[in-house]
Symmetry: C2
C-alpha cells in the first residue's frame, strides 16, 4: 500500500476519554508520515461523513493544541446514531467507498460501542466483498463496559470513578442528619450493571453505605427490596441504595415501567427514566420513611474532574496500538484490553474479530453478585479498583474553569 | 473572662466548605490556649447538644488530622434542622445555658444559614437577658448565597464552580449530536437564583450555551419561555436552558407545582421537585422537539472535586476571624465578607448584627437580570467570577479515591 490518508470518526454517547482514543489514533498517525499523509476526522460520524462534513486534524488542532483532546470529555468530532443497512447490497456502501477512494483513504477508524462495532463490521465485510484494501478498525468506547472480548472498555474507569466518588459524597451529604432517611441513587446501565456495581467502591468499611446495590442482571423483587431496606434502617439512620436504571422483574418489565412512560430510541432501545423516583415514592408510601432519589445523569459520562489516569492512559494507548496494527495490515478488528494480572495491575492490547463483538453484550458475572442480589462481591472490587486509579490534571482557562478544546 | 471552653456546631444543609469554617474556628481556638481550654463540637447541632452528644476536638481530630476538614465536604459534626422557640421564656433556654455553664463554655459558635443565624440571635439575646457573659457568634454558610449583609457566603463559590463546570460538561455532552434537542438543567435555589445565575460562567463566547437562564426573582411565563426556546432552536441545534428549582409565576405558584405534589419541611419551607421534568415534557409536547432534563442534585453542595480555592481560603479565614472577635468581646454577630474591589478581587472580614440577618433573604438584584428575564448581566459575571477561582487538591486514599475525614 502506497501513502494513504486516515479518517477517524466517533459514534454513540460521549465518555470522559473518547477523545483520548481519538488523540491516540491521530497522534500515532502523525508519527507515520511516511505511510499516512492526511489525518481526517468525520464530523458527526458516518452520517456526517456521508453529508460531506470532514476536517483535517493538521488544520483543526495544529501542534500542541492536539493534546487538549486528552483532557476534554465528550466527543470532539461530534457523534451520530446512524445504523448502516444490514444488506451489503444497499447503495450506501458503494457511495461510502467512492468517497473513501476520492479522499485516498487507506485507513478508517471508528470509535464507539456495540453499534459502532456493527459499523466497523459492515464496512470491513463490504471492503472484503469488493476487494478493497481499505483497512477498517474499531476503537472501543462505552461507560457501560458491556463490550465482549475485552477485559474492560475505555470510558468505564472514569465513569466508575465518578460514580464511586459521587456516591461517597452523597453518603456524606446524607450522614449530616440523624433522622431516618433513604436515598436511592439511580445509575446508568440498561442491561449491564457494571457502572452501578462501581458504587461499591464508595464503601469505606464493612457495613458502610451504600448498603444495597441492585443490578439489572438479577430479577428485582419489590417486596424483598422493601424488606431489605427495613432491615438496614434498624441499624443505620441513613440508608443509601444504588440501582441501575435498567433493574427489571426478570420477565422483561423494567421497574421504571411500572410507573412511567418510556420511548424508544433510533436503535430500538427502550428509553428509561425514573426507577429511582419510583423506588423513592415506594419507600415513602410503604415504609413511611423520608426518602429522596438522585439520578446520576449525563455527568457520569462527561465529567472531566473524575477522569481516571489509568483510563486516560489506556485509551490513548489503544488508539496508538490500533494505528500500528492497521499499518501492519489488520482490518475488521477491535482493539481489546487483555488483563495480565491484578496485583500489580497490568494489561496488554489485543486484536479481536469485530464480527464477534458487535451486537453482543457483556453483563456482570452472576458469581460476582451476592445470592440475594443486593450486593457485589470482592471479585468485582478486585476487578474494578485498578481502573479508577490515577488522577488527571485538567488545564484551567483564563476564567479559572476547566479549559476544553472544541471545533470552530 | 478567665479561661473558658469553646463549643461549635453546624446546622442546615452541608456545603463543600462548611468544614473549612469549622477548621478555621477550631484551629484558631487552639492558637489561644491561654484563653481557651477545650474546643468542643456539638454533634448534630443544638439538637444533638441538648441530647448530650458532644466531642472534644483534641481527641477526635488530633494533630495534623484536623487539616483533613479543609478538603472534606458535608458537615463533619453532623447537622440538624431544629428551630429554637420564639419565646425566650421557653424552658429550653435555661436548660441550654445550664449545660453551657456545666461545661464552662465561654464561646458558642454556630455555622449555618438563615435558620442557624436565628439560633445565634436567640441564644445571644437570651444571654443578654440573663446577664450571661457567654459570647455567641455566627459563621455564615449556604450554597444559596442568600444571607444579607455579606457580599457572598462561604459555600456559594464552590457550588457556583460545580454548577458552571457541570453545565459546561452538559453542553459538551449535548453538542455531540446535530439533531435538534433541548436540555433543561434544574439548579438549587428556592427564592434566590444566585446558583442558577452561576451557570452563565459555563458560556465561552457570545451566543454559546446555556442560551437561557431563568431565576425565581422574575415571574416565569410558560408561553414566553416556549417562544424563546423556539427562537433559540432556529440558530442552534442544541439549546441548554438553566432554571432554578424555585421558578414561579410571580403570584405564589411554583412552576413545579403545576404538575407535582409538594411537601413541607420542618421549617415550613415547601419541598420542591421537578420543574425541570415539567419543562422537559412541555417542550416535548408543545414544540415536538427531543428534550431531556438534568437535575443537579445534592452534588451541588457536597462536591469536593470542584471546591473553589477562594471559597476554601475565605471560609477558613472567617472561622479564624470569628474566634479573634469573640475573644475581643464580640457577641451576637455574624462574620461577613466585605468586598473591597473586583479587580484585583479583595475582601475584608466584617461583623454584622445577627438580628438583622436571620430570617432575611438576599435575592439577585433585578438590575443583574435582563429585561425579558431569560439571562443575567455582565455585572453578575464580574461579581461571581472571582469566587470560583483556584482549585483545591483533595488527598487521595489508598483506594485511589478522595480521602475524607469522618467521626468515628
Amino acid at each position: 500500500m502506497g501513502s494513504k490518508n486516515l479518517i477517524v470518526g466517533q459514534s454513540g454517547g460521549p465518555t470522559a476519554v473518547i477523545n483520548c482514543s481519538l488523540y491516540g489514533v491521530v497522534s500515532e498517525a502523525f508519527r507515520h508520515g511516511d505511510k499516512i499523509d492526511h489525518v481526517y476526522g468525520m464530523v458527526n460520524g458516518i452520517e456526517g461523513f456521508l453529508a460531506g462534513t470532514v476536517l483535517d486534524f493538521a488544520e483543526a488542532l495544529p501542534g500542541e493544541s492536539l493534546k487538549g483532546l486528552t483532557t476534554t470529555p465528550g466527543a470532539y468530532l461530534g457523534s451520530c446514531r446512524y445504523k448502516l443497512p444490514e444488506s451489503l447490497e444497499d447503495p450506501v456502501y458503494p457511495e461510502l467507498f467512492k468517497k473513501f477512494e476520492e479522499m485516498n483513504i487507506g485507513y478508517v477508524f471508528y470509535i464507539g460501542g456495540n453499534d459502532s462495532m456493527d459499523t466497523v463490521s459492515k464496512l470491513s465485510r463490504y471492503a472484503a466483498q469488493i476487494g478493497s484494501d481499505i483497512r477498517v478498525m474499531g476503537e472501543p468506547k462505552t461507560v457501560d463496559n458491556d463490550l465482549v472480548m475485552t477485559d474492560h472498555t475505555p470510558g468505564f474507569g472514569s465513569a466508575a470513578k465518578y460514580v464511586a466518588s459521587t456516591v461517597r459524597e452523597i453518603v456524606i451529604d446524607a450522614n449530616v442528619y440523624e433522622k431516618k432517611s433513604v436515598t436511592i441513587v439511580e445509575i446508568m446501565g440498561r442491561h449491564a450493571g457494571w457502572l452501578t456495581a462501581a458504587s461499591v467502591l464508595a464503601r469505606k468499611f464493612v457495613g458502610d453505605n451504600p448498603l444495597l446495590i441492585y443490578l439489572p442482571e438479577v430479577a428485582f423483587d419489590v417486596d424483598k427490596f422493601l424488606a431489605k431496606v427495613e432491615e438496614c434502617l434498624e441499624k443505620n439512620p441513613n440508608v443509601i441504595v444504588c440501582v441501575s436504571e435498567g433493574i427489571n422483574d426478570g420477565k422483561g418489565t423494567f421497574i421504571c415501567e411500572l410507573d412511567n412512560n418510556v420511548g424508544v430510541d433510533s436503535f430500538g432501545h427502550k428509553m428509561l427514566a425514573g426507577c429511582g423516583k419510583y423506588l423513592e415514592n415506594l419507600v415513602k408510601n410503604k415504609l413511611g420513611v423520608k426518602a429522596r432519589s438522585v439520578e446520576l445523569n449525563v455527568c457520569q459520562r462527561c465529567s472531566s474532574s473524575m477522569m481516571s489516569g489509568t483510563d486516560q492512559k489506556e485509551a490513548i494507548g489503544a488508539g496508538e496500538f490500533g494505528v500500528r496494527a492497521a499499518l501492519k495490515g489488520e482490518t475488521g478488528k477491535m482493539i481489546s484490553y487483555v488483563r495480565k494480572s491484578d496485583l500489580p495491575y497490568a494489561i496488554a492490547y489485543g486484536l479481536e474479530d469485530v464480527n464477534q463483538i458487535c451486537n453482543e453484550e457483556k453483563t456482570v458475572p452472576l458469581s460476582w453478585i451476592t445470592d440475594d442480589g443486593s450486593n457485589v462481591s470482592e471479585e468485582f472490587i478486585r476487578y474494578a479498583l485498578p481502573l479508577v486509579q490515577g488522577s488527571v490534571e485538567v488545564p484551567v482557562g483564563t476564567d479559572g474553569l476547566p479549559a476544553f478544546v472544541s471545533r470552530k
